[in-house]
Amino acid sequence: MQKITSVNDFVVCFANTNGTGSASANNLFAKSIFRMGIPVSPKNVFPSNIQGLPTWYEVRVNDKGYLGRRGGVDLMVAINPQSIAQDIKLVSPGGYFLYDSTKPLDAGLLRDDINLLGIPLTDISRREYTDQRQRQLFKNVIYIGALAALLDMEFDVLKNLIHEQFKGKEKLIAPNIHALELGYQYARKNFDCPLGIRIERRAMVNNHILMEGNEALALGAIYGGATVAAWYPITPSTSVVEQFEKYAKRLRVDPGSGKCNYAIVQAEDELAAIGVVVGASWNGARAFTATSGPGVSLMNEFLGLAYFAEVPTVLIDVQRSGPSTGMPTRTQQSDVLLAAYASHGDTKHVLLFPSTPKECFEMGAASFELADQLQTPVIIMNDLDLGMNEHFSEPLAWDDATCYNRGKVLSESDLENMKERYGRYLDVDNDGICYRTYPGTHPTKGAFFTRGTSRDRYAVYTESSDAYVDNMERLLVKWETAKGYVPKPEFRPAAKTTTDGIIYFGTTKASAEEALDILSEQGVHLDAMRIRSFPFNADVDAFLENHDRIYVVEQNRDGQLRTLLINECEIAPDKLKALCCFDGMPVTARWIIDHVLGGGKATRPVPAIREVKA
């Protein structure tokens, strides 16, 4: 029989039942490969459910450093009887199928083109443990032990991780290591170890970290000086504020008094969550909220107010599959247009598109600077894939010389020394950005009324058409100013001169870069641009101008970034070829390659085709 052979380049998929403690065991597996110096990218594919439904954990091992989802499964660890019939079909020919052989495998499921690895996991754990919960938990650890033997992993690395994980709960260390050994010994005794696929230590990790994007955003908010966080729980954004709270408890408690240099409000809904942020920002604190698409829909009202009244507002949108409730636990980049033009009337908002945890951290902190400087909402467009999965990332860095720039805010002495009349909406510097005052600053000067209704330059209510137009046009001046403030795109020129280009953003980066390498080897050369923000600046215009045919890869059905580019940059739609992968799974390099090669003539979005059909 054919056997897939590979060192450090394969995909392992764990099929489990959610709520059985498999996540920490599977995480142990990914982390130990990372500890062996090899880039790894684990992805959770989980149900919108707490207990009892199928969940998958897909680990790509790749010592070339490609971190996007690859697709296909070389080794399936099939622990869930509910999904086993589907799971066995997902294994690539020549691949491996590890299953619980306590009961024989249904003959109808057998395939003769894959390698079966039966381990009586239930039997072993039943023999070794008496407690029902322990039996379930240690079954997971046993298969990790078996994988260590099958893939030739360093057992000491696993042991060390167990020691670290249970620091403070030392009683649990020995039984966990025992469980690892049970699996390890069984595999050594019963199979030819290692398999055709195996791990070999490398030195590629250097100082990299494994981190979830939501956690990095939360840390960015800590470092960026956020003091007020308001939120309403929603998958996949929940961990942003939970992590903010975790780090705030550690890093933001006043050592003298034990009091908090932060306030977190779990609001009654998303409307209130962003209302708290607008109120706190209006009053001079740095504040943020985190939500997902359904929450952004609800927040439209306040986003319009913050845009028009010019109140700094930071919103983190961890996108999931829409529309409506959609697929709450699957990824997508389908809130681009919603966020860009949120709320009624003429509005547009600053967007940031992070691609890695490091960028989540940087943009997380930078969003507060941008919001303060531009006095407008800044929306960070994260997604489930980046937000909730651990990503291999460069380490986070902070310059200790950084001082917070609160933008144009007048102090008490500024107001005291001011000779002319203060006007909140007076464009003194001709950049569309006017001077704010915080409530309670000066006894007689600087007070004004903030409102969502039209007002003149002195913040006095007016229904004068001239004053209204004047204000709306100044907001456009500010929008132009913003182009110089937001992060520039990242370019990746082709090896050979070409007039073909490709545009991508956010989590598509990893798969797109892998696809570009492979396409280049096949003689297809594309200049690449990764969009990092909206509004689009002159660099984006130039890239569009300098290429005749440009693919736009995005994870939504309608080619939303393409629409935004056409609309904002006023270019001919024919030039932009939409490649839209929107099945809820992170886009793969294979998919991008297939569609660049095959879909080059499409001007309409190209529908996604699943990698592996069940």
Binding site: F34, V205, N207, H208, I209, M211, I222, Y223, G225, T227, V228, A230, L251, R252, S257, G258, K259, C260, N261, Y262, A263, V265, A267, E268, D269, L271, A272, A273, I274, G275, V276, V277, V278, G279, A280, S281, W282, N283, G284, A285, F302, L305, P395, L396, A397, W398, D399, T402, Y404, Y438, P439, G440, P443, A447, F448, F449, T450, R451, G452, T453
Partner: protein
């Protein structure tokens, strides 16, 4: 409606403890209808802030949308105001208060803004015990859209349109009492003697203070068959008693009749005296307040005055354990953990 206000002020106008005159607490000229109850409430707010000697710029005025929500323009012109979105004043006030605990927060809302579109936010601001005065200028109708019934309109009450309201009213005071409000009062825009001390007490209270003020809409809901008009309210008003607010360090002069008097000391040391008309009402007992409201309702009376007060409550800042210094005044030295801490975090992620 007045278009001009005389600039002349008598040189010997009384001044408060900080040396400010009442004029220092005034705002822009009202654009509401002549005789609107809301203007009387604005005047009462001005009087209360003057008498309390609050610095005129140390107040944040926050409102939603509607006639009532326009009024913060008409008082305390040296303070910042925020006319936010419909029904969302409580969340904006929550954020503002968290940013700077040192200001006085006055939220102004209406019956539509609170009892309909803003019901959720109102309920949760009560639960959080946000330190603020929450004024409802309650006229039983939507004035700015020309007189539709609101959710506080009594069943059978007839506004200018001539059709009776078909639905049960929401009583914001009993609701707030159920939700755990720590200061609950009801008043009438036409009863300045009652309203001013209530506002002073509410501002001095360290927690959420609701005053539901009957405030007739002269244009759309002031006809004889309306239960929110001047005539009906005046004829059917009953009071819990006369409220006196005695600031810190002021000597208590009056003589009180024991049994019918209740004295409450607030956190800042000021004292509230209630000369009760109803000896069954206990200001510290929610149930007695709810029962008193219902007793009056059965007699077709509107019970006004202070209804409930818990002076020993913890406000949102105390519940969350935030630092004394306003969060908005903290800088990077306090807020940013620095690169060394970040390197330790990096290490924990390897």
């Amino acid at each position: 409606m007045t278009y001009m206000r005389p600039e002349f002020r008598h040189p010997d106008l009384p001044v408060n403890d900080l040396g400010y005159t009442r004029k220092d607490y005034e705002g822009a000229i009202s654009t509401l209808c002549a005789g609107c109850g809301h203007d009387s409430i604005s005047a009462a707010v001005i009087q209360a802030c003057f008498e309390l000697a609050i610095e005129p710029h140390k107040v944040a005025k926050i409102s939603g949308i509607g006639c009532s929500s326009k009024t913060p323009t008409y008082f305390l012109g040296k303070s910042h105001g925020f006319n936010s979105v419909h029904g969302r004043m409580p969340s904006v006030a929550t954020g503002a208060n968290l940013a700077n605990r040192d200001l006085t927060y006055i939220g102004v809302s209406g019956d539509g803004d609170t009892a309909s579109i803003g019901m959720g936010q109102f309920a949760h601001a009560v639960r959080r015990n946000l330190n603020m005065l929450y004024l409802v200028e309650n006229n039983g109708c939507y004035g700015l859209t020309k007189g539709q019934d609101s959710a506080t309109s009594d069943i059978g009450s007839i506004g200018k349109k001539g059709t009776p309201n078909l639905f049960e009213p929401i009583d914001l005071c009993t609701l707030a009492l159920e939700l755990g409000a720590t200061f609950v009062a009801r008043s009438f825009s036409g009863d300045k003697d009652q309203l001013v001390p209530l506002i002073k007490a509410a501002i001095s209270h360290c927690g959420f203070a609701l005053i539901d003020v009957m405030s007739p809409c002269v244009t759309f809901n002031n006809n004889p068959n309306s239960t929110k008009g001047y005539e009906f309210v005046r004829d059917h008003i009953a009071a819990t008693g006369k409220t006196d607010f005695i600031p810190v360090r002021k000597e208590i002069m009056a003589e009180y009749n024991p049994g019918f008097t209740q004295e409450v000391t607030l956190h800042d040391g000021s004292v509230i005296h209630l000369y009760k008309n109803d000896s069954d009402l206990d200001l510290h007992d929610r149930l007695s307040a709810i029962q008193a409201i219902h007793r009056c309702k059965e007699k077709n009376e509107i019970l006004t005055g202070l209804l409930y007060l818990d002076p020993d409550c913890e406000d949102l800042h105390q519940i969350l354990g935030t630092v004394e210094k306003p969060l908005r005044d903290q800088n990077e030295e306090v807020l940013c953990p620095g690169s060394k801490a970040l390197e330790a975090i990096n290490e924990s992620l390897r």
